[in-house]
């Protein structure tokens, strides 16, 4: 009933754990069987190991949190050797979230991941683009076009591009990623935000700016998903502040095929299960047989 096909890959339900909030699954398998999930996005993987940022990494805000993890990860080789075999035991769709600071880095990581059985890649274009002075790939559509087309050329798996809400024009960004060959889109990543330690008279984060997530961003994320779904024909995965089945249904009614749950996992480790059963119950109560019936329904009416 809740199953959904995204870019040719079958998900048993639309609920996917978001990158960076779910590690490689290990920590959550203690709370429930991860085979119940529609899918899992891995922590962002880069070509080489990264230690991430120093200083404060987490700062709570009203209705969410700022994070400045800085892509700490063991690198693609260690991921493939040590984490992937364990993840593949779960009967769920594994999505490799790939980060990088140069196009070459992305390409080399994807080439290594091509050789695995991972069915889908998610390209995180929010990482600071080293060659362009730190401005993320995800801000200017032209820069995104370049990285997506290059990666698409080598990718042997469906390529979902994860958009940043900091994009100058989210609809244009979505268009250009489509043109560049993206098979699907996911959005949103975290919003650029900041906080100040007023007693220390300095920013809370060493990088000054950090990424905002959680229910605080939901209304904006939902609007962006709606706008993108109205503009492109490829599948879209909605992300941003989803805390319960109602939030998830809102994204689906805006046009999303699937949803990702990020910060919500911190509040309740098995929140994804609640959302899955909530969606099932909603569908039963409302007499909905397939998510297709309500996907984008708010657009069809107006």
């Amino acid at each position: 009933m809740t199953s959904v096909e995204i870019c040719g890959v079958e998900f048993k339900n639309p609920v996917i754990a978001a990158s960076g909030t779910f590690g490689f699954g290990r920590e959550y398998e203690k709370f429930y069987s991860l085979s119940k999930l529609g899918g899992i996005c891995t922590k962002g993987i880069t070509l080489h190991e990264r230690h991430g940022n120093s200083g404060t990494r987490i700062h709570e805000t009203t209705g969410g949190l700022l994070n400045s993890i800085g892509l700490e990860n063991p690198g693609v080789d260690v991921f493939i050797e040590e984490e992937l075999p364990h993840m593949e035991k779960y009967d769920t769709v594994i999505i490799a979230n790939v980060g990088g600071s140069t196009i070459e880095e992305y390409i080399m990581a994807v080439e290594k991941l091509n050789k695995t059985n991972i069915p889908m890649f998610e390209l995180n274009i929010s990482c600071p683009n080293v060659k362009q002075g730190g401005m993320a790939f995800g801000i200017k559509s032209d820069v995104a076009f370049k990285v997506v087309s290059e990666v698409k050329k080598v990718s042997k798996k469906p390529l979902v591009v994860k958009l940043s809400p900091n994009a100058e024009n989210i609809v244009d960004m979505a268009y250009r990623c489509c043109e560049a060959g993206a098979d699907g889109l996911s959005l949103v990543n975290t919003f650029s935000g900041m906080a100040i330690d007023i007693y220390g008279k300095k920013p809370v984060f060493e990088n000054t700016i950090a990424g905002l997530s959680g229910p605080c961003i939901k209304p904006i994320a939902l609007r962006m998903v709606y706008e993108v779904c109205s503009a492109v024909d490829i599948p879209v995965i909605g992300i941003g502040g989803i805390m319960d089945y109602k939030d998830a249904i809102e994204f689906i009614m805006s046009g999303a095929y699937g949803v990702q749950i990020g910060s919500g996992n911190f509040v309740k480790p098995d929140i994804c299960l609640d959302i899955i059963s909530g969606i099932e119950k909603f569908m039963k109560d409302e007499g909905i047989k397939s998510l297709k019936e309500i996907r984008g329904i708010i657009r069809r009416k107006s």
């Binding site: 960076g20 920590e27 230690h51 996992n265």
Partner: protein
């Protein structure tokens, strides 16, 4: 022991000292000294749960000793017996227990919280050094399980007047455990290193998930990046890399 996410019932929640409260929650809780729970007694605001150490466990009733610091602990202090509270735990890696020889414990302020359970569980001879700002609190819960108690206060109102590290003698012990403000713990580690005594330190970092998934609490150690919530909060003193 795998952690669980569940609801508990507050049995009691009493003020121990100015800003310090003791909360008993039932039932059937488990854990080791130095481990902690992520607690929440609210729906959405504050967004994150709060890490609080196991201060003791008596017949499955878990005891938390906490200090009001901000919003979250303030809300904890308002709980009344019969209220429910969400618990995620036990989490992390606690203090090693099967240690030989004399043990010295150095705690500062609310840093005594995990040490109560630790003293309870250690079977060797233990000396307890505790530093406080104004006056000591909760020490009656420690007395019965230790040999000697040494107290210092910044105020001079009780025990040694000054820092606890001024009267701490590392060379008397084969192992030292410490929990408290970072500056204090750094001095303790320094003293232990010089005296060639092995030291264990309970680290504190802001946490989001508490279970090792978000990497919000990662710190650099001599063995690479480690998570305070999972690989710690207790680390061997020499593992910690202070980058300043």
């Amino acid at each position: 022991m795998d952690p669980k996410y569940c609801s508990g019932v507050v049995f009691s929640n009493t003020q121990v000292y100015e800003n310090i409260y003791e909360m008993k929650v039932g039932e059937n809780f488990k854990g080791q000294p130095g481990q902690f729970y992520m607690l929440r007694a609210w729906n959405r605001e504050p967004f994150l749960s709060r890490p609080i150490s196991i201060s003791n466990i008596e017949n499955g009733t878990i005891i938390f000793l906490y200090e009001i610091k901000g919003k979250g602990t303030e809300l904890f202090s308002k709980l009344r017996s019969g209220d429910s509270i969400e618990l995620l735990g036990p989490l992390g890696t606690g203090f090693p227990l099967g240690i030989e020889g004399n043990v010295g414990i150095v705690a500062g302020g609310i840093g005594i919280a995990p040490m109560v359970y630790l003293c309870h569980k250690l079977s060797t001879k233990v000396d307890f050094y505790a530093g406080f700002r104004e006056k000591s609190f909760y020490m009656d819960k420690i007395e019965k399980n230790v040999e000697n108690i040494y107290i210092s206060t910044d105020s001079g109102l009780e025990g040694h007047s000054g820092f606890i590290t001024e009267i701490f003698q590392p060379e008397k012990y084969s192992s030292v455990y410490t929990c408290g403000p970072l500056p204090m713990m750094r001095i303790v580690l320094d003293m232990c290193r010089k005296a060639n005594v092995s030291a264990y330190i309970s680290m504190e970092r802001r946490m989001a998930c508490g279970i090792g998934a978000c990497l919000g609490c990662s710190i650099l150690t001599t063995s690479g990046m480690r998570k305070v919530c999972k690989d710690g909060p207790v680390f061997k003193g020499e593992e910690i890399v202070f980058n300043d």
